[in-house]
Symmetry: D2
Subunit: 341 residues, 4 copies
């Protein structure tokens, strides 16, 4: 059975496993106080051209989102996000469990816009009862978004400017960041992100790691007692070097970018092939998630030979489905899938 | 440099790494919906003689404690624990961050006692203003305790009875459970624990796994929406099979017990040797943590050749230090340590 | 200056002040353990034909909402509400601060509908990832709504039935309940509410009291440790009899209904008069809040002689404004207002 | 039956009731946006010689404590308090419900000491695992304490200095502040408190008001979004002027000090009389709460004619009881009590 259901089906990139094997019986201190973690952090700051920053390695995305947002917001504040943002939908109320409301703005292609945030803030401040509402305290974007779309550099800068104007820290969820950075026409690089965001994370779980997200705070100590907050959120891995080693490998010899580029190449192949065959796409996605509209009986037939995600109904006879490629997708599998479509 | 600082210095047991390697490129569903996780859960329930139970795999101890306690307590309730309990001291306020007070009782050899809980509850209920206080809603014990000590079967049953009398669910933190189960004279087994506790967890991080704790709810569905609460606490691993595989290996061919027994054998050797040499122990510990009183200059000298944990001052000229053995300790290292002492 | 801005402009009904004066130097126990509180609770249960219920007196509405919702929900759960519900908008994130998401459904005339809740629950349960979302744990309605509209008995019963089907406790926010009960054609009475809701409150702050909301739990002890949760939420008044006395007076000789009926009579007069003059209403409201569409320059002129609430723009040249009558509105003031319009 | 059980047995000072009566039908805006609240705030800032401060009126003590502490602490932080502090004991876990641990230090005469805080902070920072613990984020003291004792000006200044050294905001709970200010030999005045604390409150509930606590932030805007946090904590009174009027009356013509002095005069009379009769006091209290050791059968006999608080057993045949005087205590009642003793 072919499987394009998501981008976290397999274990870890072989080079990571090798390194874990190789270092397995070394004895190091816990909680990220080890040389692998230090090395990984330095490589990431270098890749981000952000020497004044600080890197912390957390285990997963929901955990990273909740920990960062809890660390930054005042009790009276909420976080602005697209209504399709991961924190708005599929994190089981983790942000609210930390005491904060997610303040949603309708998405445009899965994204927030500078104009949308400005309009939101102007309406908020113009509302005579705005002191009776949760105060907007930061902005959350995902890049790539939940729909596989990307911000351009100009869009990100415009959002940064609005955030600065309203004194809102900007936080970027990069659970699939590699696939965004490796997209064909993007002008958004790690340094661009580091320059425009207060905090962001570089996703490992979906991009070659067994687990792990590298949280970059672009100005060290910007977040008060960040280590303690990580511990408090149950997000501090005892054997911290397991995270350090993984990211050290990913940020050695461009591995992170290379494996991301592989996923993108296959996604572009799928896109070109299906477009040629006349398939319609629900979103114009430049990344590893492709949202295709299938006729329902064709979808049914396909589902006997391949796994994919059923996204939402398109109309009475069609459905939007998602195919995801990843660092681990084999080209032969893709060819087999395309032969079926 | 010798290192007896703690029991989570190394990676994972080689058999675990092998299995991770072997299964690495398989494609499975996420979030614990995979055959390895199912297999591990079944093996654990069998080992616990608890077929009606439910097992969930979480990443770490603080996370497991916070998630379970949050899942069980009503907003008005707190959790009873020894004042030396891990949740009382070194979890960065994770329980309070979830909204609940840790209600501490002075420890006796690191333990709660049935009499102590009874006295606490009687005093609480006798206090005319007890409705103005957080209501005791569950009891937390660690086994082994933070001091390496163990409950006997009779002690655990007595606590179970008191808990039952006052309608307090009993939760056992088994971060080092293997070392407790493998102790020389213990009569506490997994089935004994399963019979007396509502929830407990079997520690992996400190007993052979790279990370992971297996939470056993002894009556399935005892905890409302437990999966969602795990997700909400940022404790749901996307590639859940990484946890399943580790515990599946640990609960195959008695590996968990074998590697625990190894640590205990070395701890007993250390104990016998040092006792013979006239050293004094701060606690009578039957497990892998040994608390020894060292003369300060001797301690200083030792610290140049071996790492250990400095626990607390004993008197003006002596200090309590902790040596920890583990599944990974090599006997030669122990012999070298003993030669230095 | 005339003032129709809201229904909490004045102090308390004179009979309440008299009673406070009369009893002022009596000595009673605190925290609601006094005969006035007991008497008020009994009168309310009698009025609700709900002898098995339990009544607690809290100070304000946001406090009552947060306390009740915190008391009922599991940590994994959120509360279903109309997107215009008070808890969704103007309570400064109090529900989220308690750890729970407000799960909004689009309002219909300010109301939830049984069909809307059913559709929401069906879509939720049909969503393959619904265990990754906050679980719906109760339903919140306001009656009258934030738009002055009312549920009919049939609508309330239908919502009750849906709630029962999905095991969702039903909570009714009656901050303006008197004005709903006294509306001209309503068939919703206190016993109807008590029969269909698990918890509701009878608003005092906006209906004759200086402050205070009477929370009715329709089955006593339905809420675990409710007294303690009230205290924990900072909602327990030390001199509790101040609340008891106010509600005792309000529920003696039908005062609550009489003063509510006064407000309704004046609202109906306003409605009839303005309709005759050709004014358009934004909502068909049977209660004390009337939403009228004014031409902007007329609104400007009026604002120099009368206060009212500016609700929202209607179109480029018109605005929706709210006039509120209350137990304290003098008929002459209304006549003066009508003369201005 | 005589009643010396506590200091919140009666309603409000008659002058307050008169003013409430007199202003009852005035129409003012809600939420503290009224001239009475403004006037009260100005009078309080003047009395505190703290023109740059900000005053907010809340309803009760637990509410004020939770709101202020939640407003100031970062999520990773806890609040230092005496183990007998009100927030440590009788607030139903309100601080923990807000996510923060109460970090207790053993009391000395019900008080914290500068030396105690210093020792706590030094030990905390010296602990190698202190980043795994809740971070001390502020200091809470009560004045008078729960035992009726008082800080001297020098003690308060010393605590202020320690707080400043460790960057810990100092918060003073003045639920019974009047009785502290009016004590015979105190050198602590409102300006002394304002100079040494970041936030404090002036208790109304126990000192002449029907309810209400005046929170003084000694530098305006020191607390981010304080109004919104008050609302979020359910602590914003809709008819805010009820609080403003009460404090405006209390701070007109020295009423607050006069009625406090009355309670102190009677407490001193009780103390002198009982001392003369050979009674022993459990604490040397200079305020309105007197803790007396009674022989058990004498206590029993007294309890048939007078109410008082049973504090704790002293020994097998004696008990500590508390007699509280207040603004409302009549001298004849005290004389009758003394006749019985």
């Amino acid at each position: 059975m072919l499987n394009f259901e998501c981008d976290y089906l397999e274990g870890a990139h072989p080079r990571i496993l090798e390194k874990l094997m190789e270092t397995n019986m070394e004895k190091t201190s816990g909680y990220g106080q080890d040389p692998y973690t230090e090395s990984a952090a330095q490589k990431i700051l270098a890749a981000c051209e952000c020497p004044a920053g600080e890197v912390r390695f957390l285990v997963g995305g929901t955990q990273a989102n909740a920990t960062v947002i809890n660390s930054i917001l005042h009790t009276s504040e909420g976080v602005i996000a697209a209504d399709t943002g991961h924190i708005s939908t599929h994190e089981a109320g983790a942000i609210e469990a930390g005491g904060h409301k997610v303040l949603t703005i309708p998405q445009v292609d899965g994204k927030l816009t500078a104009a949308g945030i400005t309009a939101y803030m102007q309406a908020f401040l113009a509302d005579a009862s705005h002191t009776h509402m949760p105060q907007p305290g930061m902005v959350y974007v995902s890049h790539p978004t939940e729909y596989g779309t990307l911000y351009s550099k100009a869009e990100l800068e415009a959002i940064h400017d609005v955030c600065h104007e309203y004194d809102l820290p900007l936080f970027l969820d990069g659970a699939r960041l590699g696939y965004g950075l490796a997209a064909v026409d993007t002008d958004v690089t790690l340094p661009v992100i580091a320059k425009n965001c207060d905090v962001f994370y570089i996703g490992g779980t979906k991009v070659g790691a067994m687990f792990g997200e590298a949280v970059v705070v672009t100005k060290a100590n910007r977040i008060k007692h960040f280590f303690t907050t990580i511990k408090q959120n149950g997000a501090l891995l005892a054997k911290g070097r397991m995270l350090g080693i993984q990211f050290d490998v990913l940020f050695t010899n461009d591995l992170y970018m290379d494996i991301s580029a592989h996923a993108i190449r296959l996604a572009e192949k799928l896109k070109a092939n299906l477009r040629e065959k006349g398939y319609q796409f629900f979103f114009e996605s430049p990344t590893n998630q492709q949202f295709v509209i299938l006729e329902n009986s064709a979808m049914q037939a396909l589902s006997e030979k391949a796994k994919f995600s059923v996204w939402e109904p398109f109309d009475d006879t069609h459905t939007v489905v998602r195919f995801a490629t990843s660092w681990a997708t084999e080209e032969q599998d893709l060819d087999d899938l395309l032969a079926l479509l």
